[in-house]
Symmetry: C2
Subunit: 296 residues, 2 copies
Amino acid sequence: MKTEALAFFDRVRPAIDASLDELLPAESARPSQIHRAMRYSIFAGGKRLRPALCVAGFSLFQDEIRPILTVASAIEMVHTYSLIHDDLPAMDDDDFRRGMPSCHAKFGEATAILAGDALLTLAFEILSSFHGFSDSAKLHAMAALARALGTRDGMIAGQVLDLEAEGHTPQKAQVEAIHAAKTGALLSTSVWIGAYLAGADESESQQILAYGRKIGLAFQIVDDVLDETATGSALGKTAGKDREHRKATYPAAIGIEESLRMVRQLTEEARQLVKPFGERGSILMEIAGFLETRCH
Amino acid sequence: MKTEALAFFDRVRPAIDASLDELLPAESARPSQIHRAMRYSIFAGGKRLRPALCVAGFSLFQDEIRPILTVASAIEMVHTYSLIHDDLPAMDDDDFRRGMPSCHAKFGEATAILAGDALLTLAFEILSSFHGFSDSAKLHAMAALARALGTRDGMIAGQVLDLEAEGHTPQKAQVEAIHAAKTGALLSTSVWIGAYLAGADESESQQILAYGRKIGLAFQIVDDVLDETATGSALGKTAGKDREHRKATYPAAIGIEESLRMVRQLTEEARQLVKPFGERGSILMEIAGFLETRCH
């Protein structure tokens, strides 16, 4: 069962990486320090989950993946911006990411702040100037992406709520709100943008968005569980930091067993949501199942 | 002579402020900490020079200023994002801005980083979703704005070059490149966006852009000179910091007298560039003259 999702990732990842390589300024472009930092963090071994979801959403209705690669790459840029800023000393203060020094540990804090800013800015520059799709579709997708990154129910809202919750005993509803904003909004918007630009109608779009929210939440619960149970070398970052900082996590709120039960339930619900797409939906079904297995 | 420019600012500033107030989430909107920080920095007494230039560019061809206010407000948001991040301890490390505690001094570093991120994100959310102008014009304006903020010849490039140059004896050409990127790109793009969205043709657009570059450079030289000659209370921030940090400034590269001569020359060249617009260009002419008088 897992094989199809893995094969999809294996096929999409190099295409995303090639697109990112083309879209990012060369390391030699002046001022080179900032371009080195941007490329370092982009090519530090990410799973490319969000762009892959964007491509998978697009593949629900289109055979060719090439037209969506620029959009998917811009999504990876905004995701990387968020990781760089999250890792900063004033934020989560993590010197490692995916087993390598985080951006500020490698390039210094000032460059890391600017590299994050620059990736966010470049994503919007690309989205507002690339060729493909209608102008109105591009604007609609950009508005949704910006909202998913924003302060109302997007990523920054989640980050602020997360910092506020630190040190308190977390409630389940609170953890869910944090995770929905911090991780769920961008994940679900990634798959939605792909489907929307591929021509999904309103009802299909809503189903895809609901699917994205389910797997986004499942993905974050798995992350929380892994922080509790895995070793630092397996994680590629410092393990057990959530507990140490009394972060609002699912294991802290409802325990590991119940967290894993929720992951199974959310995964199954997500799979049911894309079942109606038949053969075309099989990749999204497999991705949901694949995310669940990260816990095993 | 100065009166017309001042009257223009006095008329435009409240309109921009009202538009910003409408576009920003309420302080009470959850999570309120981030919205308080965003509003604090936006309403900390800025001159609204960039949005005013955008409105002035628009007024070259249109009588009503209302249609451009949303765009002008988004420009002020990205400007404020840049100030918040510039002031951070890892960057220019300035605890005061316009006579008040800077964002991180008031709300802490994590919130300040996120407030900057949020203002940049909100600007693009607004620009991609507001009503008015054609979709293609909006995309074109957004691409130009993003580029003016970016790493090639935009604001982030200027900031990186500025940090790199610290501690070395600056050359005039180097200072000019830093200032053109750090201040000039956004200033000239602000007035260009206004003129472009008002219907300027290609040749008019180029003239406006050149005007913006001249006054952008003049503005930054004046800033450098004021840092050398004014007192902290007159500046609203710590005076003499540029010299202390051996920043790449015009006074350091060519001396104060020659800097002031350049301001006069740039101002005159800028005025000549908008003279062909006749009565309609008088505001832009006055703004150029007005910027020059800040030194006296």
